[in-house]
């Protein structure tokens, strides 16, 4: 064993020692109160990083997890950037925003969400495969991550689609504090094998074998453009984080005695001391410099920006085509023109074309850019994120809006975070489309309007198309976005044509915003009731305007925003101030919904007294039976009644 170890290149030993010394420095700085937050060290696991991250090519990429320092240093060599990052300095690899778990430099990315990085890495690798650049990638997970479902969704896809991704599972036998025998059933490599993924094994106590095995694995993935699952047995010699270690000290000591660097120190102290002194000096000197550096100013990180509204109004024109058809036409046109456009989704291939036929014929048109996927919302959303990070413009279809919950982690903890937590080095221009809404009798889990959960995600634009504007116009703006966008379509609008409303007493016009606001206003009367509705509810409310007037004696105007994550507040407020009444109608439930947001925003920016009202769904699951669905999702009668009760 010793012979084998001594055959290891001293370069590798020095690299591993540098990782260890940097992490020991972190622990020292932490105990001095100089680190904000937490730190997860990989002391004892360094050779996994050396073996895999250290043997990749520059064009390759790495996605790592919360225990990522070793991978980072081995891949980038940037110990200084890491030190500065953890010390919260502006010169840190993520500007001090991300700290220990959220690193980004070149093709290195890490995130602290267990499992979530696996599909992102798969998408990133798919992008490389599509580019045909022979670059591959590694995603590091721990044995604790084996409990995450998205891992298996992704393994299924990377095997089926032959995506060149190497999954390295660093098995340190503990999921945070819980020993593996409590949490883990069955065998680890069999899991990957079950998906038809080649597997391999190694350990950090035989680093030269591990390095050789890693080389083989990397070559396999690159040459065959297929995935591989590599299990690395290892042991972290420190706590999960800092002081949270309940492991048997004897067990830890046993592994410490097996640790290569410990043995190296004992067997060749002269070399060890020489290397250690040089490395420690290098680190100390860096830390002294870094401590004198500045932290980022808030205005470099965040400043409130508002896009000025373009209120040059132009008429809304009817289009004698159905909404679904118009979206499809836009996609076809763009797919033909753009090679970086990718469509993903369940059942979107020809001839089926998606549950609502929006992606009809796309896969026939350009099969290499259209992926019909397994039923794996989390994985395909993560893969879309990865594609977006790696130069593609993915349009992901989530078959029903209800299923967005399955994709939520990827939207909240990944897509919405990448740009900021990686200090604006990357953009994630992913587009996620989904149909929301009821009125089709699909019942409790296929009829929901979950918009309020989506607009609550910062740094993701949420757009709702409607039946007043050619959806192609809105999708043109979506296409140009550099950051994540969720597009809410509405099931009951798909079959409707654009602006077929018989509203002779209203002027229908839209402003010049990139996401236009549509306004329906009386031809020559001053409105006495300002209504805001969007998406599918806009169509319903437009159809009700005359009835609202007849019954309530109030002259309504209707504002229909299409960008619902940033509202046309000034327009709405000015209108409500003039009319004195503000009604927001939405298909979702009112509590903490869009109506709450709009009314609050108007109220806090006005000094006028405005009579305001929300109308939304009742807070119960949407019933399938039509009579009840019509009441729960406000129908004409309920809307009129509520308006009369409130305003008359």
């Amino acid at each position: 064993m010793l012979t084998e170890k001594t055959s290891l290149s001293h370069r590798h030993i020095k690299d591993a020692l540098r990782i260890r010394k940097v992490e020991e420095k972190f622990l020292e700085l932490f105990s001095q109160g100089k680190l904000n937050g937490t730190v997860h060290t990989c002391v004892g696991q360094e050779f996994s990083a050396i073996a895999f991250a250290g043997q990749l090519k520059k064009q390759d990429f790495i996605f790592s997890n919360h225990r990522c320092h070793g991978h980072y240093i081995a891949f980038t060599g940037d110990a200084r950037g890491l030190l500065a990052e953890l010390l919260g300095k502006a010169s840190g690899t993520s500007g001090g925003i991300g700290s220990s778990q959220h690193l980004c430099k070149g093709n290195f990315y890490s995130n602290g969400i267990q499992g979530g990085i696996v599909p992102v890495a798969a998408g990133y690798a798919l992008a490389n495969k599509l580019k045909g650049n022979a670059a591959i990638g590694i995603v590091f997970i721990g044995d604790g991550t084996l409990g995450e479902g998205v891992l298996y969704e992704t393994m299924n896809i990377i095997s089926k689609w032959e995506i060149p991704l190497l999954i390295v599972c660093e098995n340190n036998f503990f999921a945070q504090s819980t020993p593996q025998d409590i949490n883990l059933a069955g065998d680890i490599t069999s899991r990957a094998a079950a998906f038809g993924i080649k597997t391999s094994k190694g350990d950090t106590w035989n680093p030269d074998q591990l390095i050789a095995g890693a080389k083989e694995a990397i070559d396999y993935v690159r040459e065959n453009s297929r995935p591989l699952f590599f299990l690395v047995d290892t042991y972290r010699l420190n706590a999960h984080s800092k002081g949270d270690d309940d492991r048997d000290p004897a067990e830890v000591k046993g592994f410490r005695d097996r640790d290569f660097l410990e043995i190296f120190q004992q067997t060749t102290p002269a070399y060890y001391d020489l290397y250690q002194d040089a490395i420690s000096q290098e680190i100390d000197s860096m830390v002294i410099d870094i401590l004198a550096e500045e932290e980022m100013e808030i205005d470099q990180y965040y400043s409130s920006t508002t896009v000025p509204a373009d209120n040059s109004w132009q008429p809304v024109l009817p289009v004698n085509k159905r909404q679904a058809e118009l979206i499809n036409t836009f996609f076809r046109t763009k797919l033909q023109a753009l090679d970086n456009l990718i469509f993903l989704g369940e059942d979107i291939h020809s001839p089926y074309g998606g549950a609502f036929k929006v992606t009809r014929d796309l896969s026939a048109l350009k099969p290499k850019q259209v992926f019909t996927t397994p039923i794996s919302e989390a994985a395909i959303t993560g893969m879309s994120n990865g594609l977006a990070l790696n130069g593609y413009k993915p349009f992901l279809e989530i078959m029903f809006g209800d299923f967005m919950t399955l994709a939520f982690d990827q939207i909240v903890n990944h897509a919405s975070k990448f740009h900021h937590m990686f200090n604006k080095q990357v953009n994630c221009p992913v587009v996620i489309r989904t149909p929301m809404g009821a009125r089709r009798g699909y019942g409790p889990t296929h009829s929901q309007t979950l918009d309020k959960f989506l607009v609550g995600i910062d740094n993701v634009k949420t757009v709702a198309i409607n039946t007043f504007i050619d959806p192609g116009l809105i999708y043109e703006s979506v296409l140009a976005e550099q950051h994540p966008v969720i597009v809410i379509e509405n099931k009951s609008d798909y079959g409707k044509k654009i602006f077929q409303h018989q509203l002779t007493n209203f002027i229908a016009e839209r402003n010049g915003d990139r996401y236009p606001v549509v306004r329906l206003r009386p031809v020559n009367s001053a409105p006495t009731l300002t209504i805001v509705a969007y998406g599918g509810m806009a169509d319903i409310m437009a159809g009700l305007l005359n009835d609202i007037f007849m019954e309530s004696d109030l002259k309504p105007e209707l504002f229909i925003p299409s960008l619902i994550s940033a509202l046309p507040l000034e327009l709405i407020r000015n209108a409500a101030e003039a009319s004195g009444r503000l009604l927001v109608a939405e298909e979702g439930t009112s509590f903490a919904g869009l109506g709450s947001e709009i009314i609050t925003a108007v109220m806090e920016s006005t000094t006028c007294s405005i009579n305001a009202k929300r109308i939304g769904a009742y807070p119960v699951p949407v019933p399938s039976v039509k009579s009840l669905e019509n009441i729960v999702i406000p129908n004409k009668e309920r809307i009129l009644n509520e308006i009369l009760l409130k305003f008359s």
């Binding site: 008429p315 009817p318 159905r322 079959g495 007493n505 006495t528 007849m550 019954e551």
Partner: protein, 433 residues
Amino acid sequence: MPVLQEIKVPLLAVNDTTLTVVQLNFPNAQQVEAGDIVLVFETSKTVYEVVAEVSGYIEYFAEVGKDYAVNETVARIVSAVDQINTHPSQPGPTPRPGRNSPLPEIELQGETLFSKAAERLLVSAGLEKSLFRSRDFVSKSDVESLSQPVPVTTLKKAPGIPALSPLVPAEADPEKVSVQKLSASKRKEIEYLGGVQEGGLVSTLHTSFKTSGLQVALNPSLRILKNSMLPLIIYEVSRLLVKYPLLNAYYHDGQVFMYRHVNPGFAIDSGKGLKVLKVQGAAEQSLQETESAIVALSELYLEDKLAVTDISEVTFTITDLTAESVTLFNPLINYRNSAILGISAPDQVLETCMVSLAFDHRVTEGKLVSRFLGELVRRLESYLPGPAYKASKITCSNCLAPLNQEQNSIGFVKCIQPSGAEGYICQRCFNGF
């Protein structure tokens, strides 16, 4: 009629509640063979061809380019050509009018919409919808801004009988009663006038003024409305209202709103509907000007040429029933007024006329109203012809008894004394002891 195949709009996809007919493959009434494609629909995802299941004659009810709802019949195949009526007004589905027609952008091309509240008010105010031509929407306040609601003058009801009898109950015996529903306008009028009266604080004071010789004294000042007291009453009431602003006012929501101008209105109903015509600026007009205004407004009323301004913003209402055989009535206060003056028919025997002032007690009280009425009576009676003779200075030329001590109501008899001078003789001297 033996129909061999009925062709309805199919439900092909969840999105498509309507389909577009894009092709009719045969002329109407043409013979078709089983297997022929007779019609083509377009859906959101594809085109759908309808195949004849039988041979026969095709009859279309659809037009190319139009949308038809699922389950609508768009064509059928019949057994004989003479079963097909080629007349354009064929039975069958009618496409929704204008569904695909382009919409106007700015100009109002549709009809003016009236809210239900506005419709009710229009009916009760007797206004024409055409007043609002080219408007997009007409609300209640739009109507209010152009009209003044009409008061209703009612005969005094016998005590114990409710002013507004409820409709005959459903269980009423049709052999004993016949039921006539109130007209919509009457029901709305009831609802409408409730505004002030339902405050429950309406009181009415009555008084009378002498009319003996009044009209005779007045007529020389009138040009047309000889024998009418209305010009004088409007003339005097207007001047008084300047002095009594609380009667030229209205109550709303805990506040009294006093009109800055006096624009009394008089009720008229001569077969063209009950209306209140406004005499603009009456407090500044002469009696003759007031008379002219009444005449002019009445002519406009009779010729249906009243402008909205002629009947809007009436600040006080006068109901003149002197031409009716009414001895006393309680007028109902008009919307946005605090008082109304009713004039009953003069008593020909007593030569007096009853005037009644109903007032909103939330705005004013009886003391002020009685002062108003007292002052009005004094003003009206000031037009009575003054006595030609002073009774205390007339004495019997025979017994020298003064006329004012005469016990007999007949008075003295004028005579010519033996000297040739005019003199008087009392009844006792005239009749002899």
